[in-house]
């Protein structure tokens, strides 16, 4: 894995640290501690410094994601358009509350802040894929189909 990390780091280094982190996250689904060590090496820094920066950003993960991560926009425009009802439907369908993971580890429900799609709110992301104009029924259907695109 080390070679892969180094290759990615060198490719994206000229852009910014965050671009490197995004690219590393693509490899394993999260940023591993080995990747952080390589980053520190390549950037002439320490793992603690790299983690200090990286952990500031909500899109950067340090643990493997669930198979299906549903992130629901929680901002005011989605709220006004009925996000609360969608949240209740998803919680009900999965038997978990926001922030929790199903007992089989497959589904995770979490909030995300404004996705910049407020013309088509409420909206949510399933494994990073955008779904817009979600109502409670569409939300339930999404879960029943295992999070695939509607």
């Amino acid at each position: 894995m080390k070679e892969k990390y180094v290759e990615i780091i060198r490719e994206y280094k000229r852009e910014s640290l965050l671009d490197v982190l995004h690219a590393l996250q693509e490899v394993d689904g999260y940023v591993t501690s080995e990747a952080i060590e390589e980053l520190a090496e390549e950037f002439g820094s320490t793992p603690a410094r790299i983690y200090e920066s990286a952990s500031f950003y909500s899109m950067i993960r340090f643990a493997p994601p669930s198979e299906v991560t549903i992130q629901i926009c929680h901002s005011a425009p989605c709220h006004v358009a009925g996000a609360v009802e969608v949240i209740h439907a998803l919680e009900d369908e999965l038997g978990i509350r926001m922030g929790e993971t199903t007992s089989d580890g497959k589904y995770k429900l979490e909030y995300v802040e404004c996705l910049g799609q407020c013309q088509d709110s409420p909206c949510l992301l399933v494994n990073g894929i955008l779904h817009t104009r979600i109502d409670p029924e569409k939300g339930r259907e999404l879960v029943r189909k295992g999070g695939v695109r509607l």
């Binding site: 000229r14 852009e15 910014s16 640290l17 965050l18 671009d19 982190l21 995004h22 950037f43 200090e52 920066s53 500031f56 950003y57 909500s58 899109m59 950067i60 929680h74 901002s75 005011a76 425009p77 989605c78 709220h79 006004v80 358009a81 996000a83 609360v84 909030y111 995300v112 802040e113 404004c114 996705l115 910049g116 799609q117 407020c118 013309q119 088509d120 709110s121």
Partner: protein, 412 residues
């Protein structure tokens, strides 16, 4: 009746955004060529005095003054940064611009680079806009192949889900590979910005306005819209309107025109309760102020703000406190933690608002919210904390009954 006026979005829907040839056929990059024949001071003066182009990101600072300050700054190493970290809830105008016409943004950036003498430019694009990130990179490559970049380099850097990075100094910190915590100003970025060198940071919409002004002249631009905030503004409609969407209008168009003319009025034939203009960091306005035009000064006169140009319409079916829950939780989540008033204040305000919304609040909670809002607006380090309670304060004065009706029965 509302009339749309497309300056920034002049090519939207008419050209293929992934084709530089389309953009050039539509007159693109002429302004850049013209600008490069102009004296730098004249170019900056055109935007500053005659054009009076003011920043479209929310602060409304005179673009020419900003460029002038970076131009005058000492040293050969200067930077241009395009702030595409659009994160204000209810705002999606920069996305609309970039996905429809990335080259107009790039042309604006290149004109700025020439004006201030910068060789390195960055577009800091929010992490959620991955497709746009790729489109921008493609557009930059095309511009480079056509020889339009000259010796100027433009890079696209990605954000990663942090609202505060929309604040220019936090953005710079983030671009430097650090936590996105704001810096103390002054020094302003035009004096000591990226890598502590003179840096212009402008919003996407601001850069996208530049080529047309250079091409058609300052007098033409100044004649559009309101006197103190000329030109057009992209407005993002959301909430309880029939037609949600983005529209570009001259800045003398009123909120009523936008909500009823473009938005088609309130959904399901309900009555309007309030409108939040500028996003979650700005206040709610009373329906009696709907005839205010969407320019910076007019909004300020009524105690509001134009902000990013987001217009969220709320109908009379909502209790405002429920909406404040998501707004206050947003700020609690996005506070960077650098200063205590914001880190602790946003958290406590969110707790109190939630308690009131859940019917568990008492009168003293409302007093506590007021006190915290007052302290935070005066003592938070940056605009995030200072404006985190603006919406709450405005809601408390506009809709006191919404709060009272939520209090525990025995406490009323």
């Amino acid at each position: 009746m509302i009339r749309e006026m497309r300056i920034v979005l002049r090519n939207a829907g008419k050209i293929n955004p992934a084709s530089i040839d389309d953009y050039i056929s539509a007159g693109g990059y002429k302004a850049l060529k013209k600008a490069r024949t102009m004296d730098r001071k004249d170019l900056i003066g055109m935007l500053e005095r005659s054009g009076n182009l003011r920043g479209r990101g929310g602060a409304g600072f005179n673009t020419g003054s900003k460029w002038g300050s970076a131009f005058q700054a000492e040293g050969p190493e200067k930077y241009v940064i395009c702030n595409a970290d659009e994160g204000e809830p209810g705002t999606y105008k920069d996305r609309i611009i970039m996905e429809n016409d990335p080259h107009t943004v790039i042309e604006g950036i290149l004109i700025c680079a020439y004006a201030i003498g910068a060789k390195d430019c960055y577009i800091y694009c929010r992490g959620e806009y991955r497709d746009i990130n790729a489109l921008l990179k493609l557009a930059i490559m095309q511009a480079r192949e056509k020889g339009l970049c000259d010796d100027v380099e433009i890079r696209v850097a990605s954000g990663a889900g942090s609202y505060v990075c929309g604040e220019e100094t936090a953005l710079i910190e983030s671009l430097e590979g650090k936590r996105g915590e704001p810096r103390l100003k002054p020094p302003f970025p035009t004096v000591a910005g990226f890598r502590r060198k003179p840096t212009v940071v402008n919003n996407v919409e601001t850069f996208a306005s530049v080529p047309v002004i250079v091409e058609k002249g300052a007098d033409w631009f100044r004649a559009i819209g309101s006197l103190n905030y000329p030109g057009t503004k992209l407005i993002c409609l959301s909430g309880d309107v029939v037609h949600r969407g983005s529209i570009e209008v001259p800045t003398n168009v009123t909120i009523r025109d936008i909500v009823y003319g473009f938005g088609g009025g309130i959904q399901d034939g309900r009555a309007i309760k309030t409108v939040q203009v500028g996003g979650s960091s700005c206040g709610f306005i009373s329906p009696e102020h709907l005839d205010i035009s969407v320019d910076f000064e007019s909004m300020r006169k009524i105690g509001g703000a134009l902000g990013s140009g987001a217009v969220m319409v709320v109908d009379d079916n909502h209790n405002i406190v429920d909406i404040l829950v998501s707004i206050s939780e947003f700020f609690a989540h996005e506070s960077c933690g650098k200063c205590a008033p914001c880190r602790e204040g946003t958290l406590r305000v969110a707790e109190l608002v939630k308690r009131v919304a859940d019917g568990e609040g008492i009168q003293a909670d409302l007093e506590q919210i007021r006190t915290l809002a007052d302290h935070m607006s005066r003592s938070c380090f940056c605009a995030l904390g200072q404006s985190a309670t603006t919406a709450i304060s405005s809601a408390m004065s506009l809709f006191p009954n919404d709060f009272q009706s939520k209090l525990k029965a025995q406490e009323v």
